[in-house]
Amino acid sequence: MHYIVKNLMVPISDYATISEGSTLLEAVLSLENNRVEVSNTIYPHWIVLVLDSQNKVIGKLSQINVLRALEPESTHTELIEKLRDLGFSCKFITALREGGDSEKISLEEIYTDPKLMNMKVEDFMRKLAHNDFIDENTPLATAAHQMSVRQRLSMLVTRSGEVVGVLRLADVFNAVIQAIKTTQ
């Protein structure tokens, strides 16, 4: 079978969404619910789409975005970012982190901090760039190439400029495996 993107995508209506202005706590719950609702499928959804007031997709929210938002902000965090930019190794930075602020702040303190929990989703979501989109008629090989070089776990599928679905890496990979098997 010659796959194109629209054969592989998950329709937007099947995807969890959250509105612009929602809080971090609401985002966490929506990610959790999303996983539970689809846990009977082989590949659960790992992201939530963020919609503006016109229901346009303006961002993606993944588990990693939430974890980053929960990082304690301090001068120590800034320093660690700087050392990372200047080429210090992960090992060095990890050792520094463990000796820094994170050791002194308990998990409870971080995860019940009302300032953190009330952060707006648009402050920590992944904003969309032009290379986050792919047309629904794109062939499988091209889609696989784009996800590979752009290092994307998912892309938004468009029809005449409108987002109509989500293309997930797991589905693309599965289709590639099927294609390989068929040709053997």
């Binding site: 320093l79 200047l86 050792a95």
Partner: protein
């Protein structure tokens, strides 16, 4: 003067295009830094000697108060009181060592400055980029007062006041005030003011961050605010002495200079001063009540006042030593500011390394033991304890080390070895080891330089621009 203004706009626009990703606008930093009238006021000058190549090409540029030596091309640029020293460029046939490669140099290297604005900037050394061996380029770059671009090709970057980029190719970067970096190759980085960063991938990585609040007392420069602080006051207070040096055609220094040493005619020399054998005092250096032992040097923009340097001392570009006694083989890095207590008060033991961009500013006497590595900002003995370590101990580090705002990862021995090798190379290049017939360096070769001046259009739409000038042997 309209052409001069158009040229300024062109340079600013080109720098900004390169820096758009960092959302950095150079215009508010430099728009009032040099009144255009000043650019008409000063002559440019160049040196000729039997020991240096001669190939200058100046096109559609202003060169007010700038000095040129060697092989240099300047196009569509504003160079204000800058030093462009092409006396360490590579020559055709040289072999450039890079990692496991020995790359032959196919033609004499040249400094190529285009679409750039350099204000009181020192450009020196040679391109350390293995991809551009024959061209030390500076393009679409704006550099502010007393910055150093040392062996560092640059494209689309902004270099802050008293910042140094050393042996590093940079593209689309902002280098904050008084930041020092030596990192091989960097791009799209915004380096915070007061960062001292030295990296050799797979070998070592050193980073120190000056406390910004305290650093602001020494140098403060931001959009719309011209550079100010202790550093600026210090050089401004001594500006008049340089004025005289530049106004007089034939200048005779009253100090006895040995035949193996060089005291540049564009240096300020306020006796009593002692110049030992093989000493090099470069142009724009300032000596006052200074004793320089054999093989010591004072490079461009250095100030040595009420101080004694025992010998084989490297005082790198822009370093200031006031009220201090330095043992032999003490290295003082770029733009370091060492100020002893009233009278004398700072002693530095032999073989110590004062890292680039170190500030030692004390009110009571302080003794730095011999063989120490020193960095950061030091105002008392307690600060010294937090910002120094014996070189022997540092050499034993083989994984990582943190002390206050200093972070080190890698091999300490390799780091110290790299410094030692470089100090040796600088002393050699400066002629510190000259034995009367061999091992000539700048101290011996620079005695035979004669100087010529260049002037811009005095009136009309090209006012301030220099005509196209090509100078060859």
């Amino acid at each position: 003067m309209q052409e001069l203004k158009r040229l300024y706009d062109r340079i600013v626009q080109r720098a900004n295009i390169n820096l758009r990703e960092l959302e950095f606008d150079v215009n508010p930093y430099v728009q009032n830094l040099i009144p255009f009238e000043q650019m008409v006021k000063f002559y440019a000058f160049f040196g000729i000697s039997p020991h240096h190549p001669l190939d200058f090409q100046f096109r559609r540029s202003n060169l007010a108060g700038s000095y040129f030596l060697g092989q240099c091309k300047v196009t569509n640029s504003l160079l204000y009181k800058s030093d462009i020293r092409g006396d360490e460029l590579k020559k055709k046939g040289d072999l450039f060592q890079y990692q496991n490669f020995e790359i032959p140099v196919s033609r004499d290297e040249e400094i190529d400055i285009e679409d750039s604005m350099l204000i009181k900037t020192l450009v020196h050394n040679f391109s350390h980029d293995p991809e551009t061996l024959e061209t030390f380029f500076i393009r679409n770059t704006v550099a502010a007062n007393y910055s150093n671009i040392h062996g560092s090709p640059s494209d689309g970057s902004f270099v802050g006041s008293f910042a140094t980029v050393d042996l590093t190719t940079m593209r689309d970067c902002v280098i904050g005030n008084f930041a020092y970096l030596q990192a091989g190759e960097v791009s799209h980085l915004n380096i915070a003011p007061g960062t001292v960063w030295i990296r050799n991938p797979d070998e070592f990585n050193f980073m120190y961050q000056h406390p910004v609040e305290m650093l602001n007392d020494y140098i403060y420069f931001k959009a719309g605010v011209p550079p100010r602080g202790v550093f600026i006051d210090f050089v401004e207070d001594r500006k008049e002495a340089f004025q005289r040096v530049f106004d007089v055609v034939n200048i005779e220094h009253s100090t006895t200079v040995p035949s193996s040493a060089s005291l540049d005619r564009y240096a300020v020399n306020k006796p009593p001063t002692h110049i030992g054998e093989n000493v090099l005092v470069s142009q724009r250096a300032y000596l006052q009540n200074a004793w320089l032992g054999k093989g010591a040097n004072a490079q461009e923009n250095c100030y040595i006042i009420n101080s004694r340097l025992e010998g084989y001392n490297v005082t790198a570009h822009g370093a200031k030593i006031i009220g201090a006694d330095l043992g032999t083989n003490v290295f003082v890095g770029f733009n370091s500011f060492l100020r002893g207590a009233a009278g004398k008060g700072l002693t530095i033991g032999k073989d110590s390394i004062i890292m680039p961009h170190t500030i030692i500013d004390i009110r009571v006497p302080l003794n730095i033991p011999e063989g120490h590595l020193v960095w950061g900002m030091i105002k008392c003995k307690e600060d010294l304890d937090r910002h120094s370590i014996s070189i022997e101990a540092f050499s034993k580090i083989n994984s990582s080390f943190t002390m206050g705002n200093m972070f080190f990862e890698g091999n300490g021995g390799s780091f110290v070895g790299a410094f030692r090798d470089r100090i040796e190379h600088i002393l050699e290049a400066n002629g510190a080891f000259f034995n009367g017939s061999e091992k000539k360096g700048h101290a011996q070769k620079n005695q035979y330089i004669s100087f010529n001046t260049l002037q811009p259009y005095p009136e009309g739409k090209n006012k301030g621009l220099y005509p196209t000038i090509v100078i060859k042997p």
